[in-house]
């Protein structure tokens, strides 16, 4: 499917105030890289903020500058699409700690050297705090909606809980209110793979010409499997061999699925910084909306004013339906207006990014057509 390129505005905001962080530190001269699509209405009421997932970026519906690939959600965001840029002013910002222009471990600290591991450990709420600073700078007091899948959903929920009133609608896809142990575990595997790579060098690899690409690739391979389903892998690759008639009796990528994963891992190192991967996944593992409320999620949601919509997918074993249901039950207990549906789709966790027509209907219906 080829669409004409969507008119996009790319910009960088430098915060003039230090950004306070949950860890107790603060960051000065934070830069936030973001893109916008569509036009902001005169009353500034038609803005939708899209929060991206772990390794996503602000190029939600524009060509990625490194890979040249289309935007990661260009099937959802555009004129006449469920997040309709003819009606809405869409904002997507690279998260704090990432590496696509927003301040992260690869950015230069005040002393002119990259932060590397001197970058403070951040949280999902810190990411959202930066988003809110961006919204303040754009003069947007109340979003029509905040939308996100996976880690993006965590940001959307955090905005609803920690900045109540900031968004009129909250749409969280394939997400959770607290990172489940299994996901913490998989991400620890990824971080250990990076830190076990000698080229990681305690994070101080910037400017050396080396980088822990091998470790980062393994982290990506492990994570990539968690985004898929046996049905997807089985159908796409099965047990088919890669460019050969028989097994090699060696450790080459005999199987297509091995070759595919190696490619995914290697390609990822072209566009993502290993230290950013450490920081962003750390933020996710710390995420627990109920933690400050004695484990009572309904208490965390007390006083929210937004309408919520949660969507899960039946083949998603990374953020399974049970996680969305916990949120739905807590929101019901808090008296919030909430919609929830588990959709059937074969693609595992990645379903929220892929062709699921029922999802398009839910997203479009929940968001409405704006003004």
């Amino acid at each position: 499917m080829h669409r004409p390129p969507l008119p996009t505005t790319s910009a960088v905001l430098e915060l003039d105030q230090p950004l306070p962080l949950d860890g107790g530190q603060s960051l000065s001269a934070v830069r936030i890289s973001y893109e916008t699509y569509g036009h902001l209405a005169a009353d500034r009421g038609n803005a939708i903020f899209i929060a991206h997932a772990t390794t996503g970026d602000q190029h939600v519906a524009s060509k990625h500058p490194i890979t040249g690939k289309p935007g990661w959600w260009d099937r959802m965001v555009g004129p006449g699409l469920p997040i309709d840029t003819d009606h809405f002013y869409v904002i997507c910002a690279n998260v704090l700690g990432s590496c696509m222009g927003t301040t992260g471990p690869a950015s230069l600290a005040a002393d002119g050297a990259p932060y590397a591991m001197r970058f403070p450990v951040i949280t999902i709420r810190d990411m959202v705090r930066a988003h809110v600073a961006l919204l303040d700078a754009l003069g947007i007091a109340r979003l029509h909606a905040v939308v996100g899948g996976s880690m993006g959903g965590m940001q959307a929920l955090s905005m609803a809980v920690h900045w109540p009133g900031r968004a009129a609608r909250v749409l969280a896809l394939a997400s959770t209110a607290a990172m489940p142990a299994q996901n913490i575990a998989f991400q620890e595997v990824g971080r250990q793979a990076i830190m076990a790579d000698p080229a990681w060098a305690g994070g101080a690899y910037y400017g050396t010409g080396a980088a822990p690409d091998a470790g980062l690739a393994v982290a990506r391979m492990a994570a990539h499997v968690t985004y898929l389903s046996e049905a997807t892998l089985g159908e796409k690759f099965g047990r088919r061999l890669q460019d050969r008639a028989a097994k090699s009796f060696g450790f080459d990528a005999d199987f297509q699925v091995e070759s595919y994963l190696r490619y995914q891992g290697a390609a990822f190192t072209e566009r993502f910084d290993a230290n950013s991967y450490l920081y962003v996944t750390r933020a996710m593992s710390y995420f627990d909306l109920a933690e400050e409320h004695d484990g009572q999620l309904a208490t965390a949601f007390a006083g929210v004013t937004a309408r919520f919509c949660l969507v899960s997918f039946d083949t998603d074993w990374l953020y399974p339906t049970a996680e969305s249901r916990k949120i739905v039950h807590a929101l019901s207990a808090a008296g919030a207006a909430v919609s929830f549906v588990e959709l059937s789709a074969p693609y595992g966790h990645d379903s929220f990014l892929l062709d699921v027509p029922a999802l398009d209907r839910v997203v479009a219906g929940f968001l409405g057509t704006g003004q």
Binding site: C309, A333, V338, S339, F340, V341, S344, A358, R361
Partner: protein, 194 residues
């Protein structure tokens, strides 16, 4: 066009009230309550296609099961809880009715009357489970696992100390008299309170 039992319920919900429609299906009643009666309507529905359709038309509906998911709503969080044509599909209709009255100040419950004369005739003359307009599915694949008559339902609410504030009876698409309703009505709608 609303289904007759839904039209009847819609006509008796106070404007502007908070309503939970359990088993809301495609959201037809919710839409009417919201658009014509100014209600704050929420829904629960088991079927994911119906839920997606409801959310797609801008309604607040969660995919859930009346038997298990009503527990998560706080006491008295709605003015009305509605259970239309769903009671007979639940595992524990008695507990579901209790849950409706815990959540809502009032509850509307509508259900097909298993003592309607056609049902009786089918059992009496054919010795077969009835397949009728309101019960169109054969016994082995029907979602209706707890058939009840109007008399059964009256006995249940009486035993639980539940007040029947009003009740209506339908035959075909028309309202019928309450005389011999347990024999003549295909369908009953009860308005209950504690």
């Amino acid at each position: 066009m609303l289904r007759p039992d839904l039209a009847l319920i819609a006509g008796h919900v106070a404007p502007g009230s908070r309503v939970l429609d359990v088993g809301c299906g495609d959201g037809a009643l919710m839409a009417v309550l919201q658009e014509e009666r100014g209600c704050d309507a929420r829904g629960m529905e088991l079927d994911p296609h119906d839920v997606a359709g409801c959310v797609g038309r801008g309604l607040s509906v969660i995919q859930g099961d009346a038997d298990t998911d009503l527990a998560f709503y706080p006491d008295a969080s709605f003015d009305y809880a509605i259970l239309s044509q769903t009671l007979q599909t639940t595992r524990r209709p008695d507990l579901v009715v209790e849950a409706l009255l815990r959540i809502g100040g009032h509850a509307f419950v509508s259900f097909p009357n298993f003592a309607h004369w056609r049902v009786r005739a089918s059992l009496m003359w054919n010795g077969r489970m009835p397949v009728t307009r309101l019960l169109p599915v054969a016994w082995y694949e029907t979602p209706n696992i707890h058939h009840a008559s109007i008399a059964d339902f009256r006995a249940l609410v009486a035993a639980r100390g539940i007040v029947v504030e009003e009740c209506w009876f339908l035959s075909g698409d028309r309202q019928t008299s309450s005389a011999a309703a347990n024999f003549r009505a295909e369908h009953a709608v009860f308005l209950l309170r504690r």
